[in-house]
């Protein structure tokens, strides 16, 4: 028992937490099962689809191929952590809604977390760069078209610019 479980301390969506976790568990499992953060989705569990993407110390990772025990001392952010304390959507979440970038919604959490990482660099990327930065995620519903619009529009808005499509 003792060898199989380990106490993992970390910060989840801004709150310091600790849980005993199975050393074989993925970060996806820990976030879903121990912290009930069900926005972290399982689409392949081998790092192919990006649905489980979360931010670890600000960097986007596929949490399905990141061991829970590696989260020791790290700061983890999931989609649930983006809502304001009043329950309002952040700019990028609202852009996903407004641009019809959501259909079944299953790839959405992972996509938004990668978008947050991209937007937090405060850089204005070219279309080609933006496509490449987002290409670690698979979506079968949208053809990526409106996801691209949502991210690009938010990127420009944060720079105080507007862009027409």
């Amino acid at each position: 028992m003792s060898a199989q479980y380990k106490l993992v301390h970390c910060t989840v969506n801004g709150k310091a937490v600790e849980k005993m976790v199975d050393v074989r568990a993925s970060l996806t499992d820990m976030l879903r099962n121990e912290y009930h953060l069900t926005s972290v989705k399982k689409g392949c569990e081998v790092g192919e689809c990006g649905a489980c993407n979360v931010l670890i110390d600000g960097e986007a990772f596929n949490s399905c191929i990141y061991l829970a025990v590696w989260a020791e001392g790290k700061s983890i952010q999931t989609l649930e952590g983006l809502l304001s304390p009043e329950g309002e959507l952040s700019d990028i979440q609202q852009a996903f809604v407004d641009e019809t970038a959501i259909q079944c919604g299953f790839c959405t959490p992972g996509f938004i977390m990668t978008a947050v990482e991209i937007l937090n660099t405060n850089k204005l990327y070219t279309d080609e760069e933006l496509r490449k930065l987002l290409s670690g995620h698979l979506c079968r519903c949208t053809g990526y078209e409106n996801i691209f619009r949502a991210v690009k529009k938010t990127m420009y808005r944060r720079q105080g610019k507007t862009i027409d499509f």
Partner: protein
Amino acid sequence: MSKVGKSEVRVDGFDKASGRTKYYEDRMPAGALYVRIKHADIAHGMVKSVDTSAAEAIDGVVKVLTCFDVPDIPFPTAGHPWSMDPGHQDVADRHLLNRHVRYWGDDVAVVIAENDVAANQGVRALKVEYEELPFVLDVQKAMEDGAPQLHERFPNNILKHTDMRKGDYQKAIEEPGLIKVEGWYDTPTVQHCHIENHGCYAYEENGRIVVVTSTQIPHIIRRAVGQALGRPWADIEIIKPYIGGGFGNKQDVLYEPLCAWCSTQVGGRCVRIDCSREETFVSNRVRHAIRFHIVTWLKKDGTIQARKVECFSNQGAYASHGHSIVAKAMGSFPQHYPCENMECDAWTVFTNRPAAGAMRGYGMPQASFADECNIEDCAKALGMESYEFRKKNIMPQGFHDAFSGNTNYYDTYRECMAKGAEYIDYARKKKEYANDTGDIRRGIGMATFWYNTAVYPISLETSSNRMLLNLDGTVTFQCGETEIGQGADTAYAQMVAEALGLASYRDVRVKSCQDTDITPTGLGAYASRQTYVAGFSIRQTADLLKEKILKYANELTRQSVACMDIVDGNIVRKEDGVVLMSLSELAMTAQYNPVHSEHITAESTYTIRNNAYSFGCTFAEVEVDIPMCKVTLKNIVNVHDCGKLINPALAAAQVHGGMSMAIGFGLSEQLIFDEKTGKPLNGNLLDYKLSTFMDHPHLEAEFIENAEPTSPFGTKALGEPPACSGAPAIRNAILDATGVAIDHNPINPHVLFAEFSKAGLIHDDWREEEK
């Protein structure tokens, strides 16, 4: 102000953007047991024995069940409505687990365990002994005498053969001076690749079985689980929460019956089956690979004199949706380019491959590929511009199909083509690109399709719904036509608000989750039917609810029902527009009136006995790097006539998704099998080439809004149509660029290397030098 025809944001947008939306796995009861399936690792054979002892000895394993334990009740899996006519019922060829394994990945046994690790260890510890049998993967080889037989009652593996004859083909082709254009066209096995894998959980409650499942068709699943377990159908309750896409895979009975049965084998405890991505690729459903043989006879003036079409549909190991898919594909030919003399045949044939079922387009992406390859080649043979050849021969305005009752009310095809050509600047580019020489050449191509809306008259078409007036004047809405990501709930909210006279679509609370004990019976999400069929029953139920509301208003206001209406959420007097009371006041009064209290609700069923043609086309522009065997899609546009748009933004989003699927079908996607073993080789998202962000240009969605006369909202099919014409448009663009006609998709670099070599466009100089 109309509530339809506006690009409102999705009713489920906020929850999906904030991560609150619950899919089946997010609702999993604590302590659910894990069921893991032992899949066959041979393509064909008989299970002689399963040694379960090592698995049973694993700590945490609760039970092991094998193909020798399951009830001997064959059941069908196609997500079709039940037919009271036994001759029209789906083929029942499935068991919960199989002694006769018919493909690599077939289900042989299950291990039920307290945790996932023990369940997986248990599966690995099972020792299955097989008597191996020869297998067959190719559709036409499977039809040969002496080929390995999959199902006893289907000689030569032919599940079904149907034909269609018009005029006199043999006589027609004897006319002198005809030009013959013949080709064989092959389409691949592809998979739906919804990002949420299928999964479900089941438990017993009050002597009945509850299954919560990621499905498109809860009411159909209820029937199939009842059939498979030999239980009264009403003993089964199916709950469908939000699902992470379906695209037809979840229009089939997947693991719900097995899950329900496993629960009954462990005392009704909750058990879960969660498909892995690899299981989704191989052990769910795939798209039918269909091979077509087309012979077209042309007159010199460009008239089509006669056509022969043969379709060979690779069914895989089990019947699933079976012949209905290739039947639909075959049926498209006589209507797409009508001609006087036609001979069409379609065969559906079992092979030792994963079972093929419904997938977005239901045979039409395959038919459109073959048809539009051949039509393009016909134009080339005539020396005619293919746009003009299509314009001359495509289904004309006024065309009527007696079987479906469909009429082409407008000159839609030509309108769509004109719009697409204008967007992409077709005529100018076609001329300009003809001058390209050298290694990198540009090309432009097009393709068209038509599609039915819903399934009348082939199967039952019915839609039921319920509307409940809430205390705040909003309306709760329930129906059996499911939200699967396409945005149906939002379209329903808009239509309900419109039909009832509410202030906003936000005043409609759509209960997205279907529960077969509660939700009015509906058939689910398939056949691009939801918006069309729900439109009939929404209008009908809204009229009933409105009548009840106005009757109650009559008691309170003393105004005649005939003089009142509901406008923007208020009861108004029609003549002078005076607001008499709000719906909220009326609902509160009705609920708490000590003299006459009433819960105001209405529900109804509408049996739809209409169908509707949906049309469209794709124009694609490519750049081909010949030595690199690389195609870059530079520009693509789809134009659709799906009638009046209920929500233009959501409609465009549907088109983008379908175009993406069509691009994958044309250029990259294919499930491949080891010829020596029958083993699928790339059943995962790394090796199976699903399009990514890098593989698409901007996707342009355009519409021609010709109102559909049979629909109360003027609408018709859009869900599947966008997936139909993209692949052949790309193929025709590659032909335009290089002069090489490639008759099988996906047109990936491997294919291009072979085809360009054959055409003499590239030379293997390196190998030449070695010699």
